[in-house]
Symmetry: C2
Subunit: 249 residues, 2 copies
DNA sequence: CGTACAGTTGATGATCATCAATCCCTGTGG
DNA sequence: CCACAGGGATTGATGATCATCAACTGTACG
């Protein structure tokens, strides 16, 4: 696998990533710009780091499986992972793609509900649930930021809902590609966007067949809206039409 | 409109609703049964109640609109509401149906992202965001329960994702009806289930056309799996096949 | 009783899934 | 350095499903 460039924190955000787990989100309640900002202070990151152990995981590795005992939550330092469920029909539904400064592993009744697998090589901060529970009780400030992050993730899930609900493959794909673009350059609008996951992953995320993803990609390219540089990179040609397609139907 | 029976708290849960806002969820971290339980202690509910004002709202009333300033969060005492976004295409996507002991109004950057409208008459506890922020800081215990609830809601959103991702209308519908059944009788499996919302609402929730919902309903009825008593009530005839359809594809 | 809206049914067409065949890239080993 | 193997990606043909449009029915409420 080609090495994807390691992201040293999103540019344009308030606090650079120094040490320890980092969480990014758009805060609720307070009026703010609509760009994710760092939620944790340096001191809070350090506190979290004391309860966390670092796990460097190669690409395509299962972090945990749905149904197994939930002993830890994870914060992504670098890399990309997918969170999914395999259905009886053999189909797979990817619930979310997660990137640097994202949080996962919040379980239900002590068991993980989704399986999580790395897409690229990733550095993960693993935080024992018992230690976390204790830390959150002790530090309401950190707890509040976790609440913030969870609300943010909820909103992303709702957005995903709207994506899956669209019935045109091209529009669905455009919305996913826009997410990747935002992920890659939250502030600046760079034209070139790396695509860490396979077409099959994209299909499972969008609720489409693999072939439908390919055809939608080709159509976007034929219409001169985007262009593929190899299979794992994307260039946005006509930002106007791209944004229009990717906007809410 | 026919009056829907007012729910005095879900039967079979630990704490009955006495006074003040009540939150139900399946806790994460701790091992527990997979049924929602009351998250707040009597004391916590009372504290919340001091920051809350009661709003009794008739059916089909907008509580707030997407984009407006988010001054308060809401806890449902009784009744049912829908949370949705209207898209430019004229289509509407219902993000969630919410019932007694549910929480809504968690905003993004100080603005509501969805519009919320009552389906039935409802009693809402309205909690000022500033007062809430202060209360959460003061009471980490309450804050933790809000985190719990939010994680639970996130999980429901992911489940909704899987529903919308199915491509067979009958299966989608079955999954929604099962949600209504669980909502109505979390512990016992009652055969008769009230349907508070319109077919059109169901369509907007499932990502189907109104007609597709009707046809899927008819098919379920023709196959002897369910039966409709009027338009707003449902009886489950063949629980076996019903569960199978409503299970994860 | 009549109006308005929710719900129902039928006919038609567009879109996407599926199946099948092939291509292409990448990493491996000779 | 090249050949090869294997999985990802691409393309084409076909059919199923659902959206759309249109007409109509039922129900609630003034």
């Amino acid at each position: 696998l080609p090495d994807h460039p390691v992201k040293h924190g999103a540019p344009g955000t308030t606090a650079p990533i120094a040490h320890g787990p980092s969480l990014a989100a758009i805060p609720f309640m307070k009026l703010a710009r609509s760009e994710p900002v760092e939620l944790l202070s340096a001191a809070q990151r350090e506190q979290l780091a004391r309860s966390a152990s670092i796990r460097d995981v190669p690409a395509r590795t299962v972090v945990y499986r749905a149904g197994s005992a939930a002993d830890a939550v994870f914060v992504i330092g670098t890399g990309a992972v997918k969170s999914f469920r395999d259905l009886r029909s053999g189909r797979r539904r990817i619930v979310a793609f997660l990137f640097a400064r994202d949080l996962f592993g919040l379980s239900e009744a002590g068991r993980y509900v989704n399986t999580v697998e790395t897409i690229t090589a990733a550095r993960l901060y693993e935080i024992d649930t018992v230690a976390l529970a204790e830390l959150l009780q002790r530090e309401p400030g950190i707890e509040f930021q976790f609440l913030c992050k969870t609300v943010h993730v909820l909103r992303e899930a709702q957005h995903h809902n709207i994506i899956v609900g669209r019935r045109d493959a091209v529009g669905k794909l455009a919305m996913l590609l826009r997410l990747l673009q935002k992920q890659h350059s939250p502030s600046r609008d760079r034209r070139d966007v790396p695509i860490p996951m396979t077409r099959s992953d994209m299909a499972d995320y969008l609720g489409l067949s693999l072939e439908a993803v390919v055809r939608a990609s080709r159509r976007l390219q034929r219409q001169g809206i985007i262009e593929f540089i190899g299979r794992r990179q994307l260039r946005i040609i006509d930002r106007q039409r791209f944004e229009q397609l990717a906007s809410l139907e």
